[in-house]
Amino acid sequence: MPAPVTLDALLEALNGASSSEALVEATWALARRGDAAAAPALVDVLGYNNPGAAVAAVDGLVALGAAAVDPLLRLDPENYGARAWAVRALAGIGDVRGLEVLIDALGSDVAASVRRAAAKGLGTLELDHLAPETRQTVQLRCLNALVAAAVDGEWVVRYAVAVGLESLARTLVPGTEARQRLDAALAALCDEDDGNPPVVRLRARMALDRLVER
């Protein structure tokens, strides 16, 4: 039986990767390892301008969860590519420390693919462990960001907003002001006159129907 591969060996393979394919392979190996100590290296991969490796790194970072958040937040803001991938990782992790990054991305990133990831992520942040007042503040900020993005010029971002709103709604008590505002935002996405294509309207309708059943 072959000796187990050490983390150091995997990191060496990553640093020594001399081709795109080798980099992608080494990243997957590191990602599947599940070792929190690999987080900084995986975050570095986000900035290597290799989408195949970045996908693997995001996968690994999401699996690491909370342990990956600090390294992600320490990313160089000047490296746009790395930041874009970091948004996807933070959205997947759902740690509330990613709130500012996600709100900022949804409101101002130039790429629709980043905005849609941020929208979905803002609906799935973990809030249970927060003190009630903090929880409420965070929920409100998520709601405000999603509502503002409901008029995004890209259909797929509006679609993701519907998805984010549905997830967020499940954390809000029916009848509260926040929940009513959320329902109104979903209703607006059902409206053809606002430039919402059929798939967006369908998804918003589905969200409202499912929320009523709850």
Partner: protein, 298 residues
């Protein structure tokens, strides 16, 4: 279908910029470089008055992207079409680039742009094949039934005529992909049309086969064309898989849900394809299944 021709239902109200964000505020006294966020009035002015091809190029693109409904938009774009010349590779932003963007924009401006169909029909026979391509796409988007006769004529010589490679470029003799797709979009399923499209199913280039399959699927609904597209989702080249994704979306072929989910390609393109399955397809898999898959890809 070219992955660069992305379905996009633009909207006038937008938080997303039409061009890369700049760090400094707009200064009306400053020289507005092409590429900064502009208004509808500015776009129309640039197209009408600037006399500068690079400004006109951007303005034409802008009007299409923003689905501009202003009554001057279509007439100005029609005029921009008239700026075409024999191709001069030495020119900077060549005049034909403006005409190409004008054709593309017109494709997005139904119903007002139906007034421009005669102009686009003329451009469909221009010596510049890039212009023919843009005109074909626009006529397809405008569902211009008048274009069917000309398009069929351009394709009639088949994969070895219209579909033959050029000696000096990667392009074909005719922009076959665009012409085939236009026939599918226009939707006339006559024996003539089907007879013209069918031979391209055996074209040497998979992307052309994909376009032919998409069109035959749109026009006939026969599952064998859907199955052919699904096979292309397993092609070793990413560019072919992307084309198949776009074609499946355009045809709304719902049975392709699982192969679409699994094919190695960008999530963004899968989302576009699945939107097509939702909006243009029917039956099984249901909307619920399609939307669930889209949620996972966000």
């Amino acid at each position: 279908m070219a992955a660069s021709t992305i379905i996009n239902n633009g909207c006038k109200r937008s938080t997303s910029p039409a061009a890369p964000m700049t760090a400094f505020p707009m200064d009306s006294a400053a020289d507005h470089r092409a590429g900064e966020p502009i208004s509808e009035a500015e776009a129309l002015a640039r197209l009408r008055d600037s006399g500068d091809p690079s400004q006109q190029y951007y303005a034409a693109w802008w009007l299409g992207r923003m689905r501009c409904q202003h009554p001057e938009a279509v007439p100005l774009l029609q005029q921009a079409l008239q700026q075409r010349r024999p191709r001069d590779p030495g020119a900077g932003v060549e005049e034909n680039a403006v005409a190409r963007n004008a054709a593309r924009a017109l494709g997005k401006l139904a119903p007002a742009a139906t007034a421009a169909v005669p102009d686009l029909l003329t451009v469909l026979e221009d010596p510049d094949d890039g212009l023919r391509e843009a005109a074909a796409r626009a006529l397809g988007e405008l569902r211009a039934t008048e274009a069917v006769v000309v398009i069929c004529r351009l394709l009639a010589s088949g994969p070895d005529g219209a579909g033959a490679s050029r000696a000096d470029s990667p392009r074909l003799m005719e922009p076959c992909e665009a012409l085939l797709e236009a026939l599918g979009d226009i939707g006339i399923a006559s024996t003539t049309v089907l007879g013209v499209v069918k031979p391209f199913i055996d074209h040497g280039r998979p992307v052309i086969r994909s376009a032919a399959a998409r069109t035959l699927l749109q026009l006939s609904g026969e599952s064998r064309w859907g199955e052919l597209l699904v096979e292309l989702l397993s092609h070793p080249q990413l560019q072919v898989r992307r084309a198949a994704l776009m074609d499946l979306g355009a045809a709304g072929w719902r049975p392709a849900l699982e192969p679409i989910r699994r094919t190695p390609a960008e999530n963004s393109l899968k989302l576009i394809a699945l939107r097509g399955l939702v909006e243009r397809g029917s039956g099984e898999p249901s909307n619920d299944a399609l939307l669930a898959c889209m949620d996972d890809l966000l």
